[in-house]
Assembly symmetry: C2
Homo-oligomer: 463 residues x 2
């Protein structure tokens, strides 16, 4: 069996903890693992690590690879050069697996940002689905509704029993509250979890029939030669979900009910719902002091958050943005996100802490003509060989040791040592050692933007 983890995602719904450049699947809100890492570990229970492929947007590849490399040796991460929704990703994923494995395996497709705590029951359900997938069905895993949710799509099953599942009648859109109540009563409606399973050949054949606008483009891709997805070819594919493109049109769909718990963590409210609460119904994460609040979710990433007498409030503190929201309005976070995007306010996009393939940096302070960062370089990593047209830099080593290459000369710096990098000087910061390296960088100049960089060499292919 193969696994295909869909690790795209825009990061809008759990803003300000998620950002466009650090979306939900990369977060670890409750566990020591991120949602992506939990997803990988869950699949590992039934699928060998080497058979698990992740697909993500080009902006997230380095972060996804970094997170997964703590769980397996060489995580296979495919990069979507542009966002095209799920259908192109899944069809290409199936083609990739079929071509590179030179076989026709069963493929389990899972979103990377859901919460499923009971791995055993999940694996058991997957095994049941596998039998139907082997028989030529496209298996969708449905969640038995526990209340009339209006935020999910539903799947209606027929009475035709198929081993541990049912034949699917139809997919239905997000219902209004009354309809959702009706679905709940009728009993043969399930929430669409976005988890699927199929034989590669079955999906590709259904794509050829139901989604020729995707299938016809497949010949442009040859994964026997390279695992890269070329931008211009991928861009010719329509942006469409697998549900619209294939599921709703196919008569080969079976549904197996998920035995485990499941939560799509699609809003702060749903994070609150799956979190462990104290005796007053509060969830307090981080440095939080409370006086008499009830049923509230308070998340502090770094600063002290004091709350008094709150009821049904979600409060999330990050380094550069704070969200305070009535619990039943958390789906409106997307509005804030869109407003910020429209206003060109970067707060929707990046944190003050920005993750890079070599580590991360945090903006400490900025003002007219200067900008101060704390730079954290992971062991064995190096920043690109680069120069800047508009700024000088001054580095002070705080922890660990640094190798600095400046105009061809090697310098070795220990804590307390500093070095000046003049404007236009070609330089590189490296950490060839086994400990983390932390430096303070003070930038000075008339134009202090990330884009002022000329890269000459880069171990992460960013030249």
């Amino acid at each position: 069996m193969y696994g295909l983890i869909l690790a795209g995602g825009s990061g809008s719904r759990l803003w300000p903890l998620s950002r466009e450049l650090y979306p939900k699947q990369l977060l670890n809100i409750q566990n020591s693992e991120s949602l992506l890492q939990s997803t990988f570990l869950r699949l590992k229970d039934v699928i060998p690590s080497d058979n698990i492929i992740s697909m993500t947007g080009v902006k997230h590849v380095s972060n996804v690879r970094y997170q997964l490399s703590s769980l397996c040796e060489n995580p296979l991460v495919l990069s979507e050069p542009i966002s095209k929704n799920t259908a192109p990703a899944i069809v290409l994923g199936a083609k990739f697996i079929a071509e590179t494995s030179k076989s026709d395996p069963v493929i389990l497709v899972v979103p990377s940002d859901h919460s499923i705590k009971d791995v055993k029951l999940f694996s058991q359900t997957v095994k049941e689905g596998e039998i139907l997938a082997e028989q030529g069905y496209i298996v969708t895993f449905g969640v038995k509704p526990s209340y009339p949710e209006t935020g999910y799509g539903y799947i209606n099953t027929s009475e035709v029993k198929l081993f541990d599942g049912f034949k699917v009648n139809k997919f239905v859109e997000k219902p209004d509250f009354e309809t959702a109540q009706k679905y709940l009563q009728e009993g043969n409606y399930y929430w669409n979890s976005g988890i699927f399973m199929f034989k590669a050949s079955v999906l590709l054949e259904e794509a050829s029939k139901k989604a020729p606008e995707i299938y016809d483009k497949l010949k442009n891709f040859d994964f026997t030669k390279s695992s890269e997805i070329p931008y211009t070819e991928f861009d010719k594919m329509p942006a469409i979900s697998i549900d619209y493109a294939i599921m709703e049109k196919s008569d080969k769909i079976a549904l197996v009910a998920l035995k485990s718990d499941w939560n799509d963590l699609g809003s702060w409210k749903s994070i609150y719902d799956v979190s462990k609460k104290d005796e007053n119904g509060n969830v307090k994460i981080g440095h939080v002091i409370d006086e008499g609040s009830k049923n509230s979710f308070v998340y502090s990433s770094s600063k002290l958050v004091a709350t008094i007498g709150l009821e049904d409030i979600v409060l999330v503190e990050t380094e550069d943005a704070i969200l305070a929201c009535k619990s039943d309005k958390t789906q409106e976070v997307k509005k804030i996100y869109d407003t910020l995007k429209k206003q060109n306010d970067n707060t929707h996009k990046v944190h003050k802490t920005v993750y890079r393939p070599w580590g991360y940096y945090t903006v400490l302070g900025e003002g007219k003509g200067f900008l101060t960062k704390m730079i954290h370089v992971n062991p064995g990593q190096k920043l690109s060989v680069q120069s800047h047209e508009h700024r000088s830099e001054h580095w002070v080593v705080l922890e660990g040791k640094a190798k600095v290459v400046l105009e061809g000369k090697d310098l070795f710096l220990s804590p307390g040592h500093s070095v000046d990098i003049p404007v236009k000087a070609i330089h590189s910061l490296q950490n060839p050692y086994e400990e983390d390296l932390k430096i303070v960088e003070v930038q000075k100049g008339d134009l202090l933007i990330e884009e002022d960089i000329i890269r000459y060499e880069d171990m992460y292919g960013r030249v």
Copy 2:
């Protein structure tokens, strides 16, 4: 006429914007001036600048002097070496004014942290009070209650009319709601504003009769020789309010009703009450984005604060702490403050930005063995000549120019220049120029605390 501004105050009620070391009177919440500065400007309308004396705790002297020096040439600030409530401060203030002016003037005593917007009406009331003070009365300015407030003390007047005021019957404690309602109906009850007026000789004579435990200590102070209040002598005075010590016992008290607006800004709720609201009843200060909130107060000092669907919430963001509070619970902020104090959490005491006589610094970041600050030195100021036993420092100039004296040698640094200050080296940072100076300081060492400082010379008398 003389003015005595009481600028003590602990900073607990408007936490996290106020702190023990930066209390309410120093804040500018709505205006470009701080409450202290507004108070000074208000008095200037009726009293010459040179006749206005401020009294504050020793910890606040430099900040109080710094704020007032933008309003007059040589602000006279007396330093209380320890907090002893209002009676010792007012009695000593009266003695100070009588001795240094060699006269027996009328003295107007005002708290420094109240809001009075209509200066004209305030001055008019003061002039009315002056006539009674000249006649030998201790005049207290009362506020006509507009609702049954339970958080203030009340003053009950008799029917004896005295020019524009009344003779006072008695001072009464904070009432319960029913009693407050009764007071409101009866009409001859006023809120105690804490503003008083008297001839110096009258107050001192009343002190001799009603508060001998204070009066008897007065001989320990000789302000003809020095304006300093010696700690050991001051410490012998009891800590007691002027209301308890004198007002409630004296039969020379008259009340003049304050004609102007008045608000003691004793809680975030009262700040909200006096603030201008938008059409949804919200007050939004700083970088705030809202979706559908009502009757809420949202204050951002630096970060983006996004609010959705809040009702009757006070939200205050500062660099290192966030408060979220139901509007009718803002008096419980003191509980949070006390909890922090008990936990030895410095967040009750200092901001990340700390004000010093020479300017201020902001902690940018800290970690194991290092601490990074942005230091802002005002023009013409210098830090003390000092050394540290446990840390080295590295300075990078960002803006302005610095004179650094290091082991007796003068260095002159421009933006981009840096210097290393080794452990134990005697050094001083100076800004003898007319522009602000900003530097980044990186401290390194095994013990990074403010107390690790040996001062050799200091222009602010801190050696």
